[in-house]
């Protein structure tokens, strides 16, 4: 229904509850970015903001330290022997590929991957149904965790 230049709609309404699961990732953009016009009025989005998740927790806390220590203690050190990709290598390969122009196979693979990611599949993205913005009264009344102050966005133009 919605026509977009490539790769299909990034957010699809779909028939039921699963449609728009990738709305989860776009939520921050729709709610916090976009053009703001001063002389317009904003409807209350209090309920909707409940969907947002806390900003990345700074890892400097005793709880975090203990959690990491425990995770290390119970780690099976022999299990994961496959060496993870080294990023410098990854970037190098990628740049090289980009410079030489894309190989056919790589490109169609790319489209597959992207389509997959657009259709949304992480379990975390499935849950917003109960977080429907018209929150229950008690949900709205519940003390919300304060989000840590945001660092300002960094913007650069090429």
């Amino acid at each position: 229904m919605t026509m977009v230049p490539q790769s299909g709609s990034s957010v699809s309404r779909g028939g039921g509850g699963t449609g728009g699961s990738s709305l989860y990732d776009v939520l921050e953009l729709i709610l916090d970015r976009g053009l703001v016009i001063d002389i317009f009025i904003r409807i209350s989005v209090v309920g909707i903001e409940l969907i947002k998740i806390d900003a990345r927790i700074v890892v400097a806390s005793v709880d975090t330290y203990l959690r990491f220590a425990e995770a290390c203690n119970r780690l099976d050190l022999e299990a994961g022997r496959k060496a993870p990709a080294q990023l410098p290598e990854v970037v190098g390969t990628m740049m090289e590929g980009g410079a030489k122009g894309k190989a056919k196979g790589a490109l169609s693979g790319a489209v597959d991957t992207v389509t997959e990611s657009l259709s949304g599949k992480s379990a975390k993205q499935e849950e917003p149904e109960e977080e429907e913005p018209e929150a229950e009264p008690e949900e709205e009344a519940a003390p919300r965790k304060r989000r840590p102050a945001r660092r300002p966005a960094r913007r650069e133009r090429e």
């Binding site: 990034s10 776009v26 921050e28 209350s44 989005v45 290390c72 489209v111 018209e134 960094r154 650069e156």
Partner: protein, 239 residues
């Protein structure tokens, strides 16, 4: 009747709005309000609107439909004006700036990239492998050492390593993808993400960008999840 406002476009945008309905529990048709060289895309709402998730989706769908035809300035979700005159006034007051932004964004779409540490174990293994100090502390604890300071010291060390590694991976991912965009912007990521990047990608670079992104996603394996959304209206590039 109040007007919910979705976007600002140039007057030459085709505005194929047939069949599109707007936000609210009794959705009205989407229409335009013109003022000189600019148009606003709006729909009527009752002022008591309580936004729901489907309204976010409608907002997004109207914008996606518009952006398929020509450049748009997407409004942030949730803004309405009391009437047509207020909308026209807004368009007139900032006409020059809106026209300039439309020109700047013409021929581009936003792509949003996030990276998450989906599996921590592999990262922790790497850290223990690379840091003799962490390994030694871990061995002591596993051997039954009772000093309560040991786990704290180990945890602090590991936490620092995790943060550093994620930050440097994020920086390198940004560096790898930025050449494909005309502009880019990074925001503080939400936990458990450690990268939140938006790129303004010209249409003629989209294929290269997608191929590059997919290549990165495939090659970075150590428990990192890479998520791409787009093409999107250029939310991150209109202010």
């Amino acid at each position: 009747m109040a007007l919910y406002v979705y976007a600002i476009t140039g007057e030459d945008h085709p505005h194929r709005l047939d069949g599109l309905t707007g936000v609210g529990s009794h959705p009205s048709p989407v229409r335009t309000v013109a003022a000189g060289p600019l148009c606003a895309v709006v729909s009527e709402i009752s002022e008591e609107i309580r936004p729901k998730r489907r309204d976010l989706q409608v907002h997004q769908e109207v914008l996606e439909s518009l952006m398929a035809d020509a450049v748009v300035l997407p409004l942030q979700f949730g803004y309405f004006a009391s009437d047509d005159q207020t909308v026209q006034q807004a368009l007139e007051e900032n006409a020059d700036s809106y026209i300039a932004t439309l020109a700047r964004l013409d021929g581009c779409a936003e792509y949003h990239v996030r990276a998450t540490q989906a599996d921590e174990d592999e990262l922790l293994r790497q850290i223990l492998q690379d840091s003799p100090e962490a390994r030694d502390l871990n061995d002591q604890i596993r051997a039954g050492a009772q000093d309560p300071q040991l786990p704290l010291t180990l945890g602090e060390l590991v936490a620092r390593e995790v943060q550093e590694r994620q930050d440097s991976l994020a920086a390198e991912l940004v560096q790898a993808l930025v050449p494909y965009g005309r502009e880019h912007v990074t925001h503080p990521p939400s936990s458990p993400d450690f990268l939140n990047l938006s790129l303004l990608v010209p249409h003629d670079r989209t294929e290269d960008f997608l191929a590059a992104e997919a290549g990165l996603a495939q090659q970075i394996e150590s428990g990192v999840d890479f998520r791409l959304t787009g093409p999107l209206p250029p939310y991150s590039f209109v202010q």
